[in-house]
């Protein structure tokens, strides 16, 4: 009955989608499964297949660095996401006030995202270094009491990582919010003004709630960047002072590759993935249920 072309047309979309799906299944989920397997083996320099059960996990949780790395990720992700969102939103709102020179300011805010941290890490390192950077310059300019030595301070160094990370991505977040603002129907704003809302209330009660999708997108992209932050730490602090700025991504790399403890590295990767899944699944579920 069914003519061939029609039947083919029915299957074509699935056919076209299948290579992508296959690639994702193999190169992402297959590899995750492989990593999960490795985390139960005594792999050191290269993968090995000798089963050791949960030994790697118990070793991992016995390592002080791992606790430091987890705690750092908590601090880093929280501050990074919050500050980026706050700065991004502020800049977007300000830039949306018919600003002269918007065309010039926008790329200035955006460009850090274009640069790899291999590139900018050194510049930041110098800038934050009290001996040669900002503090030094302030002293030269006569502000002798100025102090800014966080990068040298074990307790504060993680915050310099936050500063540099915010520098890199807040412009991108700004663009997302700006796009969201430009997408809001003007009539809603006019109506709110006629209702007597002050600018402050206008944004707080009307605009910001309407930006919900932009907030969600920003959250996904920022959390993805936070979890993957690696270059940043390596270039800026090298994980130091001491190991004070270790993050799970640097931890994973160092155990897998430089310390020849692939099993422990794999275990840390599994824990990281589980954490990401725990955070992202509710978001994905909500997102997909709405539209599905």
């Amino acid at each position: 009955m069914t003519d061939l072309r029609t039947r083919f047309q029915d299957w074509l979309p699935r056919l076209v989608l299948s290579p992508s799906l296959a690639a994702v299944l193999v190169f992402v989920y297959g590899f995750i499964a492989f990593t999960l397997y490795l985390s139960f083996t005594d792999s050191r320099m290269l993968p090995s297949y000798d089963w050791v059960g949960l030994e790697n996990y118990s070793k991992l949780w016995g390592l002080r660095h791992w606790h430091t790395a987890i705690a750092n990720l908590g601090i880093f992700a929280l501050l990074y996401i919050t500050i980026c969102t706050a700065i991004g939103l502020t800049l977007a709102i300000f830039l949306d006030q018919k600003i002269r020179g918007e065309g010039l300011l926008r790329p200035i805010y955006l460009y850090p995202m274009a640069l790899s941290f291999i590139v900018t890490g050194t510049a930041w390192k110098w800038f934050l270094d009290p001996g040669i950077g900002l503090e030094h310059t302030m002293h030269l300019w006569g502000w002798e009491s100025f102090e800014f030595g966080w990068i040298k301070d074990r307790d504060m160094a993680i915050y310099t990582v936050v500063i540099a990370a915010v520098w890199q991505s807040s412009g991108f977040v700004m663009a997302m919010f700006l796009a969201g603002l430009r997408g809001i129907d003007n009539e809603i704003l006019k109506a709110a003004q006629i209702d007597g809302a002050s600018n402050w209330n206008l944004y707080r009660r009307i605009v910001i709630p309407l930006l919900r999708p932009a907030f969600l997108s920003a959250f996904v992209i920022l959390s993805h960047l936070a979890v993957k932050s690696y270059d940043l730490v390596i270039a800026l602090t090298g994980g130091g002072p001491g190991r004070a700025t270790e993050l799970p991504a640097t931890f994973m790399y160092s155990y897998t590759f430089t310390r020849n403890s692939m099993g422990i590295g794999a275990a840390s990767a599994v824990i990281m993935l589980m954490t990401i899944a725990a955070i992202m699944t509710p978001y994905l579920y909500a997102e997909l249920k709405d539209k599905g």
């Binding site: 979309p13 018919k98 460009y111 790899s116 110098w126 993805h224 994905l284 539209k291």
Partner: protein, 293 residues
């Protein structure tokens, strides 16, 4: 897709405006500072850097570091500068971005206009794949590339970048096409257009804004990637970032910071160019797609 106007209809007073300009300019300064440090130091002789203030403007202006970084600095055993690796990166990044954009567009098109049972699950799988840490894929990926005979080649690198670009590409295009009226696809079906004809003739021509977003995103990520480049390339396919890393990160050699900075800026030029040229469409593209939940 309605065209939103530029004007927010919000009125602000003189003092408020001054304040806004002040904040905007301060942030512009904040964003420009590291670039200033890089630029200023790339134009100084080395002695002025190691001996002096790194925040100061050069006293002896020189472009020698730039020339050195471009064509004579030592990357490997030969003093080639970054020049030859530039081409390698272009040869890698252009096909990778093009292919991953087409794949993202096709996936987005299928997942919104040719829906079938289980399509949201597939999308969820693709989206979550964005979060895989690249460190864990290194070893198994090397094995796969070896099995496919693509190890140490540009096509191999392109494949890797395309695979890990599927997630975001699909996300961007899916969100964009979700707002695109399905009736158009139906009309085209009745008009007799097939799956690919609808894609090429109806969908792609209106995908400009989101394609810009995807291209900027993928271009930045692929151009700046170091891990895959260092692991899966050989000399003939070694990308710019690996060369830059060789220039900057030598462990026990003399560090020529001025050359490093010049090289760093050179290596970043293509992405900067993409941002500046495509940047004006970027916000528009985000507006049309990715931020609409």
């Amino acid at each position: 897709m309605s065209h939103a106007t530029q004007d927010t209809a919000v009125r602000t007073g003189r003092i408020a405006r001054t304040f806004i300009y002040l904040v905007l300019l301060l942030f512009a300064l904040f964003y420009l500072l590291p670039f200033f440090v890089m630029l200023a130091n790339s134009l100084k002789p080395l002695s002025e850097i190691t001996g002096g203030n790194m925040m100061a403007l050069p006293q002896d202006w020189t472009i020698a570091p730039w020339l050195s970084a471009w064509s004579t600095a030592q990357i490997g055993v030969e003093p080639t500068g970054l020049r030859p690796y530039f081409l390698n990166s272009i040869l890698m990044v252009v096909p990778a971005v093009a292919i991953s954009t087409v794949i993202g567009a096709l996936n987005g098109y299928i997942l919104t206009k040719w829906r079938f049972r289980g399509d949201t699950v597939i999308f969820g799988l693709m989206l979550f794949s964005c979060f895989i840490p690249f460190q864990i894929v290194l070893i198994p990926m090397a094995r796969m590339l070896g099995l496919m005979g693509l190890a140490g080649s540009t096509p191999g690198l392109v494949l890797v970048h395309v695979v890990y670009g599927i997630g975001f590409g699909t996300l961007y295009f899916r969100n964009y096409y979700a707002a695109f009226p399905t009736e158009l696809v139906r009309a085209a079906q009745i008009d007799g257009a097939g799956f690919f004809q609808i894609f090429w003739r109806i969908m792609l021509p209106v995908s400009g804004p989101i394609a810009v977003v995807n291209i900027i995103w993928q271009f930045t990520n692929i151009w700046n990637d170091f891990l895959f480049g260092a692991s899966f390339a050989d000399l003939d396919s070694m990308p710019m970032t690996v060369a830059l890393n060789n220039l900057v990160n030598s462990s026990t050699g003399v560090k020529e910071y001025n050359v490093h900075f010049a090289g760093a800026i050179l290596a970043a030029l293509p992405t900067l160019l993409v941002y500046i040229v495509a940047g004006r469409y970027f916000v528009r593209g985000l507006m049309a797609g990715s931020v609409k939940g």
